[in-house]
Amino acid sequence: MAGTDTRSPSPAELLAAHPFAVGMNEAQLSRVAECLTGVAEFATDQVIFQSGGVARVLYLLRRGDVALEVPAPGSGTRIVGTLHGGDALGWSWLFPPYRWAFDARALGPTEALVIDGEKLRQCAVNDHELGYHVVWRVAREMADRLQATRLQLLDVYGERR
């Protein structure tokens, strides 16, 4: 009788299921998978990182919602954007001085793949083709968010009177 396959997915399999990895070949996937340090779970309202903290990792969100926010003395906290399952959280690990610019807080139960940022940077330096793929993905994420931010700045729902 055939048994049920209950083995845990490999790091490469976990990574391959995330939109961040779409288009990477097997060798690239396995090199990025070597930088995967685990799967993190965050409870509702748990702080994932705080602004000013050292940005050591890239989070690839598998499920859940995360608020990027900034403390606004006198008026609590302002949420500048939200990220969701399938998004990549954080690019501060890629650029000096490797410090988070905002706070990140889980809005509900959230699960993320955790990639060691320093290791991934090293891989990118050693293998420029892999580096191109990684930086291209981060750039796309940044471009999408820049576009969304521009629309927010445009105040597309009309002038406040």
């Binding site: 609590g76 949420i79 500048v80 629309l151 105040d155 729902y157």
Partner: protein, 418 residues
């Protein structure tokens, strides 16, 4: 059995006509050809074709004029311009004159078949819209308006309440003989001694007991309307304008995208979608607002969100720490929304910038522009295409819209000021 769809090809080059016939042979269409504009117009009058291809460069009557006459004779005719002299300016000119699309010669069989498929799809949408419009025209105007379409009928205010800091809703006692409205239509509300303003009807079309309008205070007239109290009397004309394509949307996924005050003209459509939920496939309601204080109808949104058969998402431009939902503009909801772009219908309302970007995201998902409907409420005044305030090119927004397929609205969006 469905009648065979009729296609007319007008081109002075016999070889082109033969190719078109060969490409579509066996496709189940009735295909007729004409070698001149004059012959084409005669055949169009005789056959009422669903789709017409018109060559621009022909001896005798030029293609552009044929195009205009075709559209004047039957606005539901879908015409596609074909020419060997493909230039952007020509394409723009053709679209301005009502062409659905532009096919440069030489074209491949696949390109031609794809154009036929899209053209016939557009024809089905236009016929469905015309049917819905006929239903609404049969219902109104109400007999009280016998003094003429420009004479407002007095209506009593049943109630007035604040929706947000700059928006109020007015409930009016429907005038005698009021026969209802179709979602997407608008009335003009007249504040006596001040002026009138075109305002979408924002209530439940099934509720004949009151006539709801949500008004944003943006000028003297709307400020005056917003300050009315229970028992006051205003003038009403309507209902005017094309309805949302709810009949055409039956059996399809429906994506409703509302930005800011745009939720008001969409609310009647949402009511009708939910009241007849089994007629539609997936129903998605994507709502964007500047902040939670700007969000219209929060209680109803909560109620809709509670339904298992609706995917409702709300996103705010800016929020404080207590907000549990999404933050970002409404366009960011579209890439992740689960719908079948090949057959879905979208209904989009908000300020024009928002509609442009939302439509761009929907097209990026693979939707056909002809299945993305927007409501353009530019400068509407008389409601009947008389005063010319809302004229854009050959169209009067109030009479030919305000609901347009994006294939038509795109050229209107390009006109910066009316």
């Amino acid at each position: 059995m469905q009648p065979r769809q009729k296609i007319l090809v007008i081109d002075d080059e016999e070889v082109v006509l033969d190719s078109c016939l060969a490409i579509l042979a066996g496709g189940g269409y009735d295909i007729t050809t004409a070698t001149s504009g004059e012959e084409g117009l005669r055949l169009a009058a005789e056959l009422s074709p669903d789709l017409v291809f018109v060559d621009v460069k022909m001896p005798g009557l030029p293609g552009m004029e044929v195009l205009e006459r075709l559209r004047a004779a039957d606005p539901t005719t879908v015409a596609i311009v074909i020419t060997g002299y493909a230039t952007v300016s020509l394409a723009v000119e053709a679209m301005k004159r009502g062409a659905f699309d532009f096919l440069p010669k030489p074209f491949t069989p696949d390109e031609f078949r794809e154009m036929v498929r899209r053209g016939l799809e557009r024809r089905a949408e236009k016929l469905a819209q015309a049917r819905e419009r006929a239903v609404s025209e049969a219902a109104g105007p109400f007999p009280g308006a016998a003094a003429g379409p420009m004479a407002p009928v007095p209506c009593r205010v049943l109630g007035r309440w604040d929706e947000t800091y700059d928006t109020v809703s007015l409930a009016l006692d429907p005038p005698p003989g009021w026969r209802g409205f179709r979602p997407g239509q608008f009335n003009t509300l007249y504040a006596f001694g001040i002026g009138e303003s075109a305002i979408s009807i924002s209530g439940d079309p099934a509720d004949g007991s009151r006539l709801l309008h949500t008004i944003r205070k943006v000028g003297k007239v709307t400020e005056s309307l917003a300050s009315l109290q229970r028992g006051d009397v205003i003038g009403v004309r309507g209902p005017f304008g094309t309805p949302w394509p709810l009949g055409y949307s039956a059996g399809r996924d429906v994506v409703v995208v509302a930005g800011g005050i745009g939720l008001a003209p969409l609310r009647p459509a949402i009511h009708e979608l939910l009241a007849n939920r089994d007629r539609y496939n997936r129903v998605l309601i994507l709502i964007g607002a500047r902040s939670s204080a700007d969000l219209l109808y929060p209680e109803e949104i909560q109620e809709w969100r509670g339904r298992f058969d609706v995917d409702l998402q709300v996103t705010l431009d800016s929020a404080t720490g207590g907000w549990r939902g999404r933050v970002g503009v409404v366009t960011t909801l579209i890439p992740r929304a689960e719908f079948d772009a090949d057959q879905a219908v979208a209904m989009v309302v908000g300020p024009e910038i928002m509609m442009r970007f939302a439509t761009a995201e929907l097209l990026h998902r693979g939707m056909s522009p002809s299945r993305v409907f927007v409501s353009m409420e530019r400068n509407m005044k008389c409601g009947i295409g008389l005063c010319g305030h809302c004229q854009v090119g050959a169209k009067f927004v109030c009479r030919d819209g305000a609901v347009f397929g994006y294939d038509e609205a795109e050229t209107l969006f390009q006109v910066r000021e009316v």
